[in-house]
């Protein structure tokens, strides 16, 4: 996550003697949020609703780590200056959030302030800011009464002083996080689309990955009304989270509502199969969407038109590359690598097999303005998620060990220039950088 780069920058600024601002930050942090909120009496319905909303918010993605009690934290976010760890959010009074009032909880969730200081924006509070008071109360009830308390101590962040000072985060928060306001549907909006907007822009925090960020690493748009940059695709670590908008070949243009619902609940549809960190999102979060909420999200995404970026091109299948391969002509750069390594599953026609091996022809990920995902998948392979509806898991093996940088660049270029696909060219040097980011045993 690139926001972490910010820490040294802001940390250094701190060293320049802005001591006064530290005091100001502290006062501002303490002033955030509501003083008091009345928590509704807990009951099974409220707690169950909270459980559902916790899944929508995918709190487990960061706060549950395999091998530790659920929601007891401990996920390390590596930053150039050290590690930041997710915290214990079970109701344990000592190690967790058992002593937090509803107002305290609301302050952390929507304002990004906890125990009098600002949180690292790894916590997506700028997105959660729109959560409605009733839903905050349900989330609170679930964490207080639905989650077993875990006496798991938090792991201390290992960022050394003075970089560990938090006051710069206060100013980041005030500058870049939206003013927390409960979601209000715009007048005249379809109520189903409004529900989709609330989930996508809020708890779903889709924009945290799918919306590009600015220099200070704040997302360039928080919601649809901020403009067409919202959910227009962004680089996340070594993957490109594709555009979720409508229009050109690199968007969800030809995905029907049903396709989007199917993707969110199973990780696959006739256009493609999930990969990268979205796989965890499907497993921990979106597979639990109610039918109504899944459709609301689909309708909302289908309404996001105005593509941005260099391409307004729509996709049309082109049979020439398939014909060439079929007639034994593998003279195009990368064709030979493709035939030897990829074609058995993705087929010479690039159409794959529905819900088994994704099609590459017309796949928006292939047509994205950035080939990071293709490079990463070729190097490290991929595995489909297991959900109740899709118990079978399909694997693609890693190719880093058998393809050199030029081979990977060639095959990525072959894929992104065949069957009507079009995307910027990849150079071997770019592949080398991705390879370097892998663990030594994976290279």
């Amino acid at each position: 996550m690139r926001w972490k780069v910010l820490i040294p920058v802001l940390g250094l600024a701190g060293l320049c003697g802005m001591l006064a601002t530290i005091g100001a930050a502290s006062i501002l942090d303490r002033a955030a949020g509501e003083k008091d909120l009345d928590a509704p009496a807990p009951n099974a319905t409220l707690i169950a609703r909270g459980k559902y909303l916790v899944r929508l918010g995918d709190c487990a993605a960061c706060h549950s780590v395999s091998g530790r009690p659920a929601f007891s934290g401990g996920l390390r976010f590596a930053t150039p200056i050290g590690g930041v760890y997710s915290t214990n959010i079970t109701p344990d009074p000592e190690y967790g959030i058992g002593r937090l009032s509803l107002a305290d909880f609301d302050r952390a969730l929507r304002f990004g302030v906890s125990k009098g200081h600002s949180l690292y924006p790894a916590m997506p509070f700028p997105s959660y800011a729109n959560t409605k008071p009733g839903d905050v109360a349900a989330l609170y009830a679930y964490f207080k009464y639905g989650v077993p308390p875990a006496t798991t101590p938090n792991i201390k962040n290992d960022i050394p002083f003075p970089l560990s000072m938090r006051w710069p985060l206060t100013f980041w928060r005030l500058l870049f996080a939206p003013r927390p306001e409960p979601f209000i549907a715009r007048a005249g909006n379809d109520s189903v689309i409004a529900r989709g907007a609330y989930l996508v822009e809020g708890l779903g925090h889709c924009g945290e990955c799918h919306t590009p960020r600015n220099l200070a690493l704040q997302v360039r748009a928080q919601k649809a009304s901020d403009g067409p940059v919202f959910l227009s695709g962004a680089l996340v670590d070594t993957y490109f989270a594709p555009s979720l908008r409508q229009g050109s070949a690199d968007t969800l243009g030809d995905w029907t509502e049903h396709d989007i619902v199917s993707f969110l609940t199973t990780g696959a549809n006739p256009h493609g199969i999930v990969f990268g960190s979205m796989t965890d999102v499907i497993v921990h979060s979106t597979q639990y969407l109610t039918a109504d909420d899944a459709i609301a999200i689909a309708k909302y995404l289908r309404a996001l038109s105005d593509p941005v970026g260099p391409s307004t091109r729509t996709y049309a299948y082109d049979d020439r590359d398939h014909s060439a391969l079929k007639s034994g002509d593998a003279s195009k750069t990368g064709a030979r690598v493709y035939i030897d390594n990829c074609a058995a599953c993705h087929r010479p026609d690039g159409l794959g097999y529905e819900r088994v091996f994704p099609r590459l022809a017309g796949n928006p990920v292939v047509n994205a303005p950035n080939s990071a995902s293709l490079i990463s998948i070729v190097l490290t392979g991929s595995r489909t998620p297991r959900t109740p509806e899709t118990p079978a898991q399909f694997s693609m093996p890693a190719f880093a060990w058998r393809l050199n940088d030029q081979d990977v660049a060639d095959v990525v270029n072959f894929i992104s220039s065949s069957w009507g696909n079009s995307a910027p060219m990849t150079r071997a040097a770019e592949v080398a950088a991705f390879r370097k980011a892998l663990a030594p045993s994976e290279r």
Partner: protein
């Protein structure tokens, strides 16, 4: 001969064949759909309730030549049904299989296309997340334990990966350790009376049988592109059933049983599956020349033949050799009988007639002739059967029609160990149908009221 009939009919098993084929995504074409004989399928098969779940795979080239030749001879060839899904297919458990692309590495390899049916591609995915399932790997079961009167299994004893002996108590034992090992575990556990070939008494180990196969290699020469690396396992083969089972009049031939006859290699693996004529050198430059000339241009036409069961062919515990834990190994006492030599010669003659019509440059037949002995070192078939056979009463069988032990009613034995004699087909469909037939009965009756499911 000690052959006997099954205590369960085809009609009773048919729904379970059908279910198993759907679990596997089996590709094929029905030859008898609810009594209607349909072109393109096996006209000899029993009445199926449904079509195969996925369409047949396209024939590999050797199978195409076979199709033409058999048609010329008046036989009705059909795609060999195979548990390779031919399309992306979701089975009744909701598990999705990929489509076979005839990659050439089916036999003896894992399937990267998720089309070759095996537990991990068909059933394990839905069991994986069940809270009431625990799989203990690296557990080497050595004995089924019983109570004092020996009528009830109380658990199994196994050795874990640290060499410790562990007793696992249980209400129900389902023995499914492969045909040979099923028999060994019964003998090691002292369940049932071991078969005695001298007196003919006893039952455990009785009626071991194998298959009697022959193969005719057709060498077509460099103008005919067989390309044996395309296709694999049963996928893409074509087959005829005219000379199997009771599908022809045996009266003048002096034997019973028969063979299914099929064309096309099960793979084209380097070295092991490279075909060269028998007169070519076995090494050196001339060998290489022969490989270059014949590998891509040759095909085997095979006959998979039945083997009857006999009083002197059986399984027992070895008096001399033991495994690493000091437990006796299984001893296999087997050789060919006259009936099978005759059956094999008859089948091979039919194959040779077909191959002649396929017009290769030359052909050569590998066939067991009278005087040739069974040799365990030479791979002939994986299809071993018998030893814990199924039957109508405790004197002729170890298990009843529901695969339940007559002696120990909470012990069920699954596998080809149930077959009273062997068939001229692959055994998996039949053993799976028997297993599902049993499983349905266990759930419907046994669990509600444990005890013998067939009165004695």
């Amino acid at each position: 001969m000690t052959i006997q009939d099954y205590p369960v009919s085809f009609e009773e098993l048919e729904p379970h064949f059908d279910h198993f084929e759907k679990v596997c995504g089996t590709s094929g074409i029905a030859g008898n759909l609810r009594g209607e004989i349909r072109p393109g399928g096996n006209p000899f098969e029993g009445a199926r309730s449904d079509e195969y779940p996925t369409p047949p795979l396209p024939p590999i080239y050797a199978a195409e030549l076979f199709e033409k030749a058999t048609a010329e001879l008046g036989y009705k060839s059909f795609p060999q049904p195979s548990a390779n899904s031919s399309i992306a297919f979701t089975n009744p458990y909701g598990v999705r299989l990929g489509p076979c692309n005839l990659c050439g590495f089916c036999e003896r390899f894992g399937c990267f296309l998720y089309s070759k049916a095996s537990p991990q591609t068909t059933i394990l995915p839905i069991l994986a997340n069940r809270p009431n399932l625990e799989v203990r790997t690296s557990a080497y079961v050595t004995r089924i334990l019983r109570d004092n009167n020996g009528k009830n299994a109380t658990g199994v004893l196994y050795i874990d990966e640290d060499g410790r002996e562990v007793e696992q108590p249980t209400d129900l034992v389902v023995l499914s350790a492969f045909q040979l090992h099923n028999v060994r575990l019964l003998l090691l556990s002292g369940i049932g009376v071991p078969y005695d070939p001298v007196s003919g008494e006893g039952i455990v180990g009785k009626n071991y049988a194998y298959q009697m196969n022959s193969v005719t290699a057709a060498y077509f020469g460099e103008d005919v592109e067989i390309n044996p690396f395309i296709g694999a396992g049963a996928a893409g083969l074509r087959i005829i059933d005219e000379f199997n089972s009771d599908h022809f009049d045996h009266q003048i031939h002096g034997f019973i049983g028969g063979s299914s006859i099929f064309a096309g290699a099960t793979g084209g693996r380097p070295i092991e599956q490279m075909m060269i004529p028998p007169n070519a050198p076995k090494w050196g430059k001339e060998w290489m020349t022969a490989i270059r000339r014949h590998y891509r241009h040759s095909a085997p036409i095979g006959a998979q033949g039945s083997v009857m069961s006999y009083r002197d062919r059986y399984l027992s515990l070895d008096p001399t050799y033991t495994d690493g834990h000091g437990l006796p190994l299984l001893r296999l006492t087997f050789d060919w009988h006259n009936n099978e030599y005759k059956m094999a010669a008859f089948s091979a003659a039919r194959v040779q007639e077909i191959v002649r019509v396929m017009k290769p440059e030359q052909q050569a037949t590998l066939l067991m002739r009278p005087g040739d002995h069974y040799d365990v070192r030479i791979y002939q078939s994986t299809h071993t059967t018998g030893g814990a056979i199924i039957g109508t009463n405790p004197s002729n069988s170890f298990i009843n029609r529901y695969s339940q032990s007559w002696d120990v009613s909470n012990l069920f034995v699954m596998g080809a160990s149930a077959f009273p004699q062997n068939i001229g087909y692959n055994p998996t469909g039949l053993l799976a149908a028997l297993a599902y037939f049993s499983a349905v009965k266990i759930r419907a009756s046994y669990l509600k009221s444990p005890g013998p499911l067939v009165p004695t």
